[in-house]
């Protein structure tokens, strides 16, 4: 089924920023992914949805470099990254967040954002600089404002509420000015109000930023994404605009567990 997957999008002229080719991941005898193909175009907003165990997170981790696929290929901006560890991704302009917010609880919001910036700069000299440097102060403050944390700039991250931690994590991803953002269930555990803020932040991103999100929350996925890929049993089942996917009978079957009536 090479290159005929439903997940192929209409070519928009430019090369895909992320290419996933025939990726298979086996955990022992379990096939978490079965030959998945996926192209993500620059500036595209793509959501991957699907029930538990569909392979969404595995696909995400393969793209993020945390899991090496058993077979297949992953390329970021044309560079083969199949076996490159995750720490190389930031240099390619790829930022990610985690399913459970991973912030540095002992550090202030400002310092958390600064570390994200320092890691992106990748200069070893960044380690020797004083942390009170005016440029980083203003950048961190701007980013904090974007994610509604301006008032918490000097609070330790450990004191933030869950929703605020997610905002901070998003801020750390945004701070580096990535071209590609990978968001692992950004809306999980958020209240309705926090979800609205999240959507607002994501909608305010520059149009050239590519966004890939794995999401359980259909509301968020359908509002952010231009294209939705539905996965089940380690395969992509359907892809299309949110409206198309919402109408798709296959999707109803997957989610509601009813047998196809057709």
């Amino acid at each position: 089924m090479a290159h005929t997957s439903a997940a192929q999008s209409e070519p928009s002229g430019s090369a895909p920023v992320i290419e996933v080719r025939m990726v298979t991941v086996a955990f022992g005898g379990l096939l978490a992914l079965r030959g998945v193909d996926l192209d993500i175009m620059p500036g595209e907003r793509l959501a991957v949805i699907g029930p538990n165990g569909a392979g969404k997170s595995t696909l995400f981790n393969v793209i993020a470099g945390d899991i090496a696929p058993t077979a297949g290929k992953v390329a970021v901006k044309g560079q083969d990254c199949t076996y490159r560890p995750s720490r190389h991704r930031p240099r390619l302009g790829v930022a990610r967040t985690y399913q459970k917010a991973r912030t540095f609880d002992g550090l202030t919001v400002r310092d958390n954002i600064y570390l994200a910036l320092a890691g992106h700069a990748r200069r070893h000299r960044a380690l020797w600089r004083s942390s009170v440097d005016a440029r980083m102060r203003s950048t961190a403050a701007n980013v904090a404002e974007t994610v509604w944390l301006a008032g918490q700039l000097d609070h330790p991250a450990g004191q933030l509420a869950h929703g605020q931690k997610r905002q901070l994590e998003l801020g750390m991803a945004i701070a580096t000015g990535p071209d590609v953002m990978l968001l692992d269930e950004p809306a999980s555990g958020l209240s309705r109000g926090e979800r609205e803020r999240l959507i607002e932040v994501l909608e305010s991103l520059a149009p050239e930023v590519t966004l890939l999100l794995i999401e359980h929350d259909m509301d968020v996925a359908f509002r952010i994404a231009q294209r939705v890929v539905v996965m089940a049993d380690g395969e992509t089942v359907t892809a299309g605009s949110p409206a198309q996917v919402q109408k798709d009978t296959n999707v109803h079957r997957i989610y509601l567990g009813t047998e196809a009536t057709a």
Partner: protein
């Protein structure tokens, strides 16, 4: 009925990492009662002890308190490197005591060479530089050796704490034998510079300025460490690494370099502690083991990986070490060492992760 379907899971707001361990009530009461009882004993009741009640013999009390604080300074220097390394890398560096002793021996040799005599050096002949240069050489050698140990043995076993502990333990055995061969089995002593070898009069008691000098060095070390950890980007990376090493790496920060530097600094601190210890109490085979134990006790009381904890642990441990021989009834002075372990048990009963520790 709740709709069953697409995940409704909501991670709780407090994760296991961020949860502070709340002290349990009964042990807190026991600890408080013990502290009050000891204070009353020391202040009013301690008849028949070497020092006598503090109300009758305030000079002895002040001197004992000074002993506690100054010894705590030495404990802090020895333990800070250990806790720094553990906090960031989760490596229990069993070779910490060996680095301590090696730095001491080397500093003694360098001092002998600088002064030009090998036995019975008179403090009056020792200039400040004759103490400071050996200190830096000894600690520098310890730091370099620590870095080699980290690069050759530990780096590729990252995250395998038991393996690392056993490897460093093996290194300890090898180093102990080699040091015995090279430096002999006799106790040797580093000589304090003449400029600080005086006595003060504190409420009618003589008190050695060298001990206060030692405390001064310890405070300087503590302040420098604190500035490094809180005011520089590398300190920030180290504190972040204590929270979540993997995430630091995921941000694209070269944490291996930070690991190496931290091990270097931690070993350097072990060396500074060794030179202070050799000036204070001498160096001999076995000093390595006893100072590894001292460092362990301090960081277990204070909480592994916490600098604040190392300071607090040093003060508590120093207080117990200084007060128990002075304020136990004379015929029981022999049991002073037991008080150390009573302190350890009491602290762990109240806060199982140590005073400032968090679950790993």
């Amino acid at each position: 009925m709740e709709p069953v379907g697409i995940d409704q899971h909501r991670p709780s707001t407090t994760t296991a990492r961020s949860r502070r361990v709340e002290p349990r009530r009964l042990p807190v009461l026991v600890a408080a009662a013990a502290a009050v009882a000891l204070a009353v004993w020391v202040t009013f009741l301690a008849d028949g002890t070497p020092a006598g009640p503090a109300t009758e013999n305030p000079g002895k009390f002040v001197v004992t308190a000074l002993d506690a604080v100054t010894f705590a300074g030495l404990l802090f220097v020895a333990a800070s490197g250990f806790t720094l390394i553990f906090g960031l890398m989760r490596t229990v560096n069993m070779a910490h005591g060996s680095l301590f002793l090696l730095a001491a021996y080397i500093a003694i040799r360098v001092q002998e060479a600088m002064v030009g005599r090998s036995r019975n050096i008179d403090p009056a002949d020792v200039a400040v530089l004759d103490w400071l240069v050996p200190l830096l050489v000894g600690a520098g050698v310890a730091a370099a050796l620590g870095l080699v140990i980290q690069q050759v043995f530990l780096q590729w076993n990252e995250g395998q704490e038991l393996r690392q502990a056993l490897m460093t333990l093996a290194i300890t055995v090898v180093l102990a034998d080699q040091m015995l061969r090279e430096f002999g089995g006799l106790a040797q002593r580093m000589v304090w510079p003449g400029a600080v070898t005086h006595f003060l009069s504190v409420m009618g008691e003589r008190y050695a300025v060298t001990r206060l000098f030692m405390l001064g060095v310890a405070v300087l070390v503590g302040v420098l460490l604190w500035l490094w950890l809180t005011r520089t980007s590398m300190g920030m990376v180290i504190r972040a690494g204590v929270d979540d090493r993997q995430m630091v790496r995921a941000l694209g920060i070269n944490i291996r370099l930070v690991f190496a530097i931290t091990f270097f600094v931690g070993s350097f601190l072990a060396g500074v502690g060794g030179v202070l210890g050799a000036s204070f109490a001498g160096a001999a085979p076995g000093t390595d083991g006893s100072w590894l134990l001292n460092a362990l006790v301090v960081v277990i009381i204070g909480g592994l990986g916490s600098l604040k904890g190392a300071a607090a642990g040093s003060l508590l441990y120093g207080a117990v070490v200084a007060f128990s021989p002075a304020y136990l009834p004379s015929q029981y002075s022999y049991y002073a060492i037991i008080m150390t372990f009573a302190l350890l048990a009491l602290v762990l009963a109240v806060r199982p992760y140590g005073l400032f520790g968090r679950p790993a």
